[in-house]
């Protein structure tokens, strides 16, 4: 990708960054990996859920926390797992999070490693496009 194109893509992802309340966000897109960082002064208080296993540990400062965005690489309809993956859920290792159905074909969406789900951007049956953020996972 050219720098111009990366800039356009990054701008589109900035919304997801704000929604997840993270200081750093990384998304892998084919051969390219984009990492977004918020300017330190604009980092809000961490949006860590009060409950959940990680809450007991002292969370890292927002500037150090990093989330990976899991985006759709096809156009289709989102199908959550049963039960659906929820915010705050811990993942021990790589697993299927949901699938996107394209022309009757199920395309699994995987977590690409363990971590904690910090944002679920999509609802059951929602149409999704290529590159649309589906989940954010804190690593």
């Amino acid at each position: 990708m050219t720098e111009d194109v990366i800039a356009v893509r990054a701008r589109a992802l900035a919304g997801a960054l704000a929604e997840a309340g993270f200081a750093r966000l990384r998304v892998r897109d084919g051969d390219t990996e984009i990492e977004l960082r918020r300017a330190p002064s604009t980092v809000p208080a961490p949006l860590v859920p009060a409950a959940g296993p990680a809450a007991a540990e002292a969370p890292a400062t927002p500037a150090e926390r990093r989330a990976d965005l899991i985006a759709s690489d096809v156009v289709g309809v989102l199908r959550h797992q049963r039960p659906p993956v929820a915010e705050g859920q811990e993942l021990e290792a790589d697993r299927e999070l949901a699938s996107v159905e394209t022309l009757g074909i199920r395309n699994p969406v995987r977590s690409r490693g363990g971590g904690r789900i910090v944002a679920v951007f999509v609802t059951e049956g929602q149409p999704v496009e290529y590159g649309q953020p589906l989940f954010a996972i804190e690593r």
């Binding site: 050219t2 194109v5 356009v8 394209t102």
Partner: protein, 451 residues
Amino acid sequence: MFKKVLIANRGEIALRINRACHELGVATVAIFSDADRLSLHVRHADEAFCVGPGPVMRSYLNIPNIISAALISGCDAIHPGYGFLAENARFAEIAADHGLTFIGPKPAVINAMGDKATAKRLMQDAGIPTTPGSGIVASVDEARAVCEQIGYPVLLKATAGGGGKGMRAVTKPPELPTAFATAQAEAEASFKDGRMYVEKLIVNPRHIEVQVLADEHGDVVHLGERDCSVQKPSHQKLIEEAPAPELDPAIRDRLHDVATTATRAVGYTNAGTLEFLVHGDDVYFMEMNTRIQVEHPVSELIYGVDLVKEQIRIAAGEHLGFSQEDLHAHGHAIEVRVNAEDPENNFAPAAGTLSTVVFPGGPGIRVDTHVYGGAIVPPFYDSLLAKIIAVGRTRESAILRMERALGETRIEGVKTTVDFCRQLLGDPEFRAGGIGVGWLPAFLDRRAAAV
């Protein structure tokens, strides 16, 4: 009429189709690649889906994602525009399998016309004159035998070819083996089809094409001819006009007759273009393009017909609603392609951000474009930025208008063809009219020699 149409394209043609749909009261769904997120065609559509990253194989040619976008947005038809999937019969079939109307001819006709050797044979069977040549030649030896029979110079062509790829001119027998091998390799690489045929090379012909419309009830009309003889050495068109200047009225009538006859003979429906080579009094069918063409506006402006709207109406099963007697050409129209490329450097494509964009306006000027000040020209696509079209009562008035319009045009940030085309318009040979396809390459050679 359709309720919602997915526009499977980008750039100026996506906007053009969007406008036609909206004027017909049809909702639109745009598709775009990551690189086109900020393009005007996305902004103007009622809905838009990102279908993949910048490279075309994963976005504008990504059939599953495109069909999926059409289905989940509730479309009932797909307009393919030109290029990309426009002449892909498989795409048309897949769309139909999913209950989507493909706005274009039937898949079997797309297939027949897309295979150049088949198209030529079908036209010969219908009594349409074609250039002397062969069917598929399997080897250099077979090609040599044909060449000796029809006489040099010849043109080696890939049956799946287009845009000058897989094509080589051969003037003397010793050049044949190398030309055959390179053209075949190029065709294999570009189209995954290395089948070749041989054609007599007509030296410096005019490229004149006829626009046709055919509905699904058997009615066929033509909308006159376009002269597309101003072609780069790569055979890409740069300036087009309608009607063809300095053309014998008898030849003009013959072209129109042959085009409508051929359209009926192959059972063609929707908008199409038959390309001919014209050399002296001889007329040869070259190929039929089963899509809307880049240069369609010059015909629209002199006939007062919206070809894209007609495509949509025909695909929806409507009658043409007019006959040949209702169609009359008025005046003269000329189109200049504003490409992001460097005319001083073999038309090398340019990419970058457009810092300044000012398009012309005023009487008789139409601009079809998708770019604006600050727009990004990604490196992945065709270099066409805009089409400037001028119409006037006479050829001379249209050219004067175009010169004025190009003078008003300011595009900064990438190199463009604007100033170069203005020079071409001022050339006495162009001004006289009736130039052949060898004219622009010769113009470039003269310019190179003068440096």
